[in-house]
């Protein structure tokens, strides 16, 4: 029996009141619900406040570079398909610095879970606009207000027919726990964009702001209806839908590779005869 204690409890470097605490708790609870052992799990993160999260639970961890967690996770998953791989990082990390890897991961449909702590701001570097910061929002780096339109990760993911596209909110931890559990269980690339108040630097998208707007998608909502999902992904402002926005069963990356058969590469025995055959083909 895996229990919450298996994932430990650590002092964090986060600000009191930060939404990250609740996300961390939901992640742990989801793993307990799935009865996944720390040893089976690999957390990969980038750099930022969100990216520190894997240091605060017990698991295998690779905390890499800002923006580069998805390719690291992809390499690790291909090398050992037996690992359950979870990528956890911020909106800046995944949609800013690492935007191109986000697109590539969706195209690959590699079997991993991407948890984006989306506080709509660069937290660790003290409050510059992130790709999801609202247009017009003023920061010290954008004193005349953000001039770009925000990135809508869900719309792009649905447009690209990502396998699992969901939104959660740190202020609704039970709902979030369920969502994370489903995402981890999903075969293929699963995105959970998690709205997360940053009490220190985002004075617009506060906990109250989110609470007022967030609602759970109704039971009748059909996440396999792409056109509906597209529309739902665009909903933002007065009302913000939470839940699984879109889901499908695209073939998973690696299923294409006969050489990746749920067996770690490290366990593959050398085939010297084949190697000799290859060498002789140069004769």
């Amino acid at each position: 029996m895996v229990s919450l204690e298996d994932f430990g409890s650590y002092e964090t470097a986060w600000c009191p009141g930060c939404g990250n605490f609740s996300i961390l708790q939901s992640v742990k609870q989801a793993l307990v619900d799935l009865q996944l052992k720390p040893q089976e799990l690999l957390f990969v993160s980038g750099i930022g406040q969100a990216a520190k999260a894997p240091h605060y639970l017990r698991a295998n961890v690779f905390n890499g570079l800002h923006g580069r967690s998805l390719p690291v996770a992809t390499g690790a998953k291909l090398a050992n398909p037996g690992l359950t791989v979870v990528v956890e990082s911020g909106d800046g990390c995944n949609y800013g610095e690492g935007g191109n890897h986000f697109l590539a991961a969706i195209r690959r449909n590699i079997d991993l879970t991407l948890l984006v702590h989306n506080n709509q701001i660069y937290g660790l570097t003290k409050g510059q606009a992130s790709p999801t910061t609202a247009a017009g929002q003023v920061t010290k780096a954008q004193p005349s207000g953000v001039a770009s339109d925000p990135f809508n990760p869900l719309a792009v993911a649905v447009a690209m027919k990502a396998g699992f596209v969901a939104r959660g909110f740190s202020g609704m931890p039970e709902h979030l726990t369920t969502l994370i559990g489903k995402a981890v269980r999903h075969k293929g690339f699963a995105l959970v964009d998690i709205l997360q108040p940053c009490v220190s630097f985002n004075k617009v998208n506060t906990s109250a702001w989110y609470k007022k707007r967030c609602y759970e998608l109704p039971a009748g909502y059909n996440p396999s209806d792409w056109a509906e999902a597209m529309k739902t992904s665009m909903e933002w402002g007065e009302r913000i839908p939470l839940g699984i926005i879109y889901e499908n069963n695209r073939p998973v990356y690696g299923d294409h590779f006969p050489q990746v058969k749920q067996k770690p590469l490290i366990a593959m025995k050398p085939d010297q005869e084949q190697l000799i055959r290859i060498m002789n083909s140069y004769a």
């Binding site: 720390p38 040893q39 089976e40 690999l42 990969v44 750099i47 520190k52 240091h55 017990r58 698991a59 295998n60 961890v61 690779f62 905390n63 890499g64 570079l65 580069r68 390719p71 690291v72 996770a73 992809t74 390499g75 690790a76 998953k77 291909l78 090398a79 050992n80 037996g82 690992l83 191109n100 890897h101 697109l103 590539a104 590779f257 006969p258 050489q259 990746v260 770690p264 590469l265 490290i266 366990a267 593959m268 050398p270 085939d271 010297q272 084949q274 190697l275 000799i276 290859i278 060498m279 002789n280 140069y282 004769a283």
Partner: protein, 561 residues
């Protein structure tokens, strides 16, 4: 033939005329007949048109470098004649279309139109050349079958007939040309270029994961590996860009797969942050950089040796690395193997620095004894690791026992931040200092294992030619000629340029009357590095940076000047 080693054949024409095809076929026929070869490919950054060359230097004894003077010029277009006739030795011949031939006695004017359709011109030219130099027709026909056989039997038949016609025509109509001396025992050799040897070396060493983004002249490493990936259970993954490639390889290596990336300077520029990550997380990584002339896009299909300083210092922060610089096809194979072993044992980034010339240079090499060569790779479950596992345990050698996530009951935590022994991020400055010392201590192991440069010649020569990487062959042959001319010449070739152990070579430098650095760049980067490491100044330099490889002639001419 005034080439001391043999015969120099140059095929010239436009991209799309099939000159690489007949070049490869001719080269393969030569190797199968027991000759040695050195191929130099000159091509442009386009798919059709322009002016390309495929030159084969060949002979019965081992060869290590191309030469510039041409004995047999195969001109598939007129431009080839005007561009290269000046390189022709006296006694040399130009195989070309009858109608372009004029009256010159050194022309072998082939009536291509009479002998077949245009698309077979290249095979016809191959036949004429083969017949002229005395290659057995059946060897060439076999090589043709190997190449076309798979695709389409009717295409093969056309080509066989064209070849046969060309042999007949040559026997009847062509001028005589000195035949290559027969080789009694053709040996058991394979034909391989530098990139193929790197790919095979990597596979033989235990490569399990390769990620890349296409970039000339490194791409053929990826293609060679991709062709074998499925049969060997290796993953070859084209990434979204070079940043993705290097980070994927690090992820795969962390998860236990010996991993490699390959690119050229501009692509490597995007991997620089990843190099630093490999060092900080102590994740083994082999990085191949196949050099081409820069800066920026530069000359994408030509050669240069100008990225030495860049590779040596790439990455923010301080950490040890090793850089191998193969000079032959055999070194491409064996140093790649060594790179894997070293990356695994020292847990960090190891480079193989090659260049377009060597990457594309086919040569005849003895088969490698694959059956006797060990594989490397992490042990999936080493004994005697106590709980809790500390990925960065401090040890005397700076090396910590490495575990692979998911393979044991331990948890493996790696971090790009400064970290404690257990891999978690820290801002403790005393720990910081210890961790820097730990990482830098690994340099000692690298120094202990550093390869000696190769010295050839009598002690205390009048002239010492010092070089590194692919220029080795040209230097050896230039030295041989200087010795013949009575100038006592030695050579010092580095197949590993970092780390350097001054004791390995200082006395050789000091013992020479004059030292000349021979390098394919504009600044004499390696000569500068030698001074930094030993204080020894080398002011005489033979440098080349026009995109072509350094040849013996180039060295001899420069020394005369």
């Amino acid at each position: 033939m005034t080439d001391p080693g043999g015969l120099n054949i140059l095929i010239g024409g436009e991209a799309g005329q099939g000159l690489v095809t007949i070049g490869q076929l001719l080269a393969k026929a030569l190797v199968r007949s027991g000759y040695f070869i050195v191929v130099t490919q000159g091509y442009q950054s386009r798919i059709r048109g322009g002016h390309n060359t495929f030159s084969i230097r060949t002979g019965p004894r081992e060869l290590s470098t191309p030469r510039e003077a041409v004995d047999l010029l195969i001109a598939l277009d007129r431009e080839t004649i005007s561009l290269h006739q000046g390189d022709l030795h006296s006694g040399g011949l130009i195989i070309t279309d009858l109608s372009w031939g004029g009256e010159r006695s050194d022309f072998v004017g082939v009536p291509f139109k009479e002998l077949g359709p245009v698309k077979l011109n290249n095979t016809l030219a191959l036949g004429v050349a083969g017949a002229l130099i005395g290659l057995p027709q059946d060897v060439l026909l076999n090589v043709l079958s190997g190449f076309f056989g798979k695709k389409n039997p009717s295409v093969l038949e056309e080509n066989r007939q064209a070849l046969t016609k060309a042999f007949q025509w040559t026997g009847n109509k062509a001028p005589v040309f000195p035949k290559l001396p027969r080789v009694s025992d053709p040996g058991k050799r394979v034909m391989m270029n530098g990139n193929e040897a790197i790919a095979l070396g990597a596979l033989s060493a235990g490569l399990k994961f390769f990620s890349f983004y296409p970039m000339t002249p490194a791409t053929s490493i990826a293609l060679s590996l991709a062709a074998q990936a499925e049969s060997l259970g290796v993953i070859v993954e084209q990434a979204e860009n070079e940043i993705g490639a290097v980070n994927m390889a690090i992820g795969a290596s962390f998860a236990g797969a010996p991993s490699m990336v390959a690119t050229s300077g501009g692509g490597f520029a995007l991997m620089v942050e990843g190099v630093s990550l490999s060092a900080m997380t102590e994740t083994p990584l082999v990085i191949v950089v196949a050099q081409r002339p820069g800066p920026a896009t530069g000359l994408p299909t030509r050669t240069e040796q100008a990225d030495l300083d860049f590779i040596l210092h790439a990455g923010h922060g301080e950490f040890p690395r090793a850089i191998f610089t193969p000079g032959t096809i055999e070194e491409c194979f064996y140093l790649t193997r060594q790179a894997f072993a070293l990356a695994e044992s020292f847990q960090g980034p190891v480079f193989i620095l090659t260049d377009q010339f060597l990457a594309d240079s086919y040569r005849a090499v003895s088969s490698f004894p694959i059956e006797d060569l060990p594989w490397v790779g992490p042990v999936s479950d080493p004994p005697n690791i106590s709980f809790p596992y500390q990925r960065y345990a401090l040890t005397e050698e700076g090396l910590s026992p490495r575990l692979i996530p998911g393979m044991t009951d331990h948890l493996v935590v790696a971090d790009s931040d400064e970290h404690t022994e257990d891999g978690h991020l820290t801002e403790d400055l005393a720990v910081r200092k210890k961790m820097v010392d730990k990482r830098m201590t690994k340099m000692e192991g690298l120094l202990r294992e550093a390869s000696m440069p190769e010295y050839r010649g009598e002690p205390n020569p009048d002239v010492l030619l010092m070089t590194w990487g692919s220029t080795k062959g040209a230097v050896l042959e230039a030295a041989a000629e200087l010795n013949k001319q009575g100038k006592r010449t030695g050579t010092l070739s580095f197949s590993q340029v970092w780390p350097l152990v001054a004791d390995h070579f200082s006395s050789i430098l000091e013992g020479a009357k004059e030292v000349v650095a021979v390098e394919g760049n504009a600044q004499g980067q390696f000569a500068r590095l030698i001074r930094r490491e030993t204080g020894f100044p080398i002011s005489r330099r033979v440098l080349r940076y026009d995109g072509l490889p350094i040849t013996p002639e180039y060295i001899l001419n420069s020394l005369k000047a």
